[in-house]
């Protein structure tokens, strides 16, 4: 009996010991870490990952690619008399439940249009003010005696835009069944001739996803 009590006491002493507690916690952390999926880099050239209900980089790439292809095939970028059009980026409205930086779409289009050799984009004019304020701010140096005035931008050098690119991303959520929902994304783009106000080119890319109601597309 005495031996048994002594045994319980010694077990309790061991179990309550700080070192054992630390070991127990460390083992739990190790087990939790072992269960977590390992981080992997996405192969952007051959991503076999499943689709997501929200918009991911593949959707933006697809929408941008379709828009640019359509724009190039339409002939709207062929300037009469040759040369390049100057393009201003107007407002791209995000009408979805997701927090999207519309530059994810617009930047891809801009890069490709610039690369095409048919268009050059101005950053001095934009729907929400100039994208790059420096072009205007640098002109304030005209009054400064500290700057060599021959190196300061002269008056009347900026080029006004010929075309404006505007657009909208729309989302529609449709309940298919008690467990299934359908999410549709519409990428609508318009290229307007600033001089006449006429739309030279318009296009819409649609991306549809169907999945669980439990997935929230944002």
């Amino acid at each position: 009996m005495t031996n048994c009590n002594n045994g319980k006491k010694s077990f309790s002493v061991i179990f309550n010991s700080t070192s054992l507690r630390i070991l127990f916690i460390a083992a739990l952390i190790f087990m939790a870490g072992a269960c977590a999926p390992a981080t992997q880099n996405i192969d952007m050239h051959n991503d076999q990952g499943g689709a997501v209900m929200g918009l991911d980089y593949r959707d933006f790439e697809q929408a941008a690619s379709e828009s640019v292809s359509s724009m190039m095939q339409s002939g709207a970028l062929n300037k009469r008399g040759g040369g390049r059009y100057v393009l201003a980026i107007s407002r791209i409205i995000n009408d979805t439940t997701q927090r999207i930086d519309t530059d994810q779409l617009v930047k891809k289009i801009r890069v490709q249009l610039l690369q095409s050799g048919k268009v050059i984009v101005t950053t001095a004019v934009g729907a929400n003010g100039p994208e790059d304020n420096m072009a205007m701010q640098a002109r304030e140096l005209r009054n400064s005696d500290e700057f060599n005035q021959s190196t300061v931008a002269a008056k009347g050098q900026m080029i006004a835009p010929d075309l404006s690119l505007s657009g909208k991303i729309i989302q529609r959520i449709i309940r298919v069944s008690s467990s299934l929902q359908q999410v549709e994304y519409y990428f609508q783009m318009t290229l307007t001739d600033i001089n006449t106000g006429l739309a030279y080119w318009e296009d819409e890319s649609v991306i549809g996803k169907r999945g669980s109601n439990k997935s929230v597309p944002w």
């Binding site: 050239h45 051959n46 076999q48 593949r58 790439e61 697809q62 941008a64 690619s65 640019v68 292809s69 190039m72 095939q73 062929n78 891809k108 890069v111 490709q112 690369q115 095409s116 050799g117």
Partner: protein, 127 residues
């Protein structure tokens, strides 16, 4: 004699299996079908290229889905300049297109720049 026949059959089978993985298109060597299936459902019947002088080069590929069911395929196109150098582009990603059962399909691609003078296309079944 029997052993020789068996050896020949096995050799032919191995060659057929290997060539079944990737097939260079006889219509246009610039179009390649990547297919891990022995009997590919996909065949290319035509490649039309528009002149590129002063404008963007355009390519239209015509093919056929020989399967008795709808398949979804995808293609990837690489554009090359006159020095056969790759032209990087957002338009060079995998692009899906439909292949309806026992029907022809077509897809069209436009070059990202006017300097594109050549191309390579690979086609596969979408996973």
């Amino acid at each position: 004699m029997i052993r020789f026949k068996a050896f020949s059959i096995i050799t032919i089978c191995i060659i057929m299996l290997l060539t079944g993985c990737t097939s260079m298109n006889p219509i246009d060597p610039r179009v390649t079908i990547i297919d891990d299936h022995f009997f590919s459902d996909l065949s290319i019947t035509g490649v039309n290229v528009t002149p590129h002088y002063g404008d963007f080069m355009e390519v239209q590929v015509t093919g056929r889905n020989n399967a008795s069911s709808y398949k979804k395929f995808e293609y990837k196109i690489e554009w090359l300049d006159q020095n056969e150098m790759l032209i990087p582009s957002v338009m060079s990603g995998w692009t899906g297109f439909p292949g309806f059962e026992n029907s022809e399909f077509r897809f069209k691609a436009v070059a990202p720049t006017m300097s594109a003078t050549d191309f390579r296309i690979i086609i596969r079944r979408e996973n």
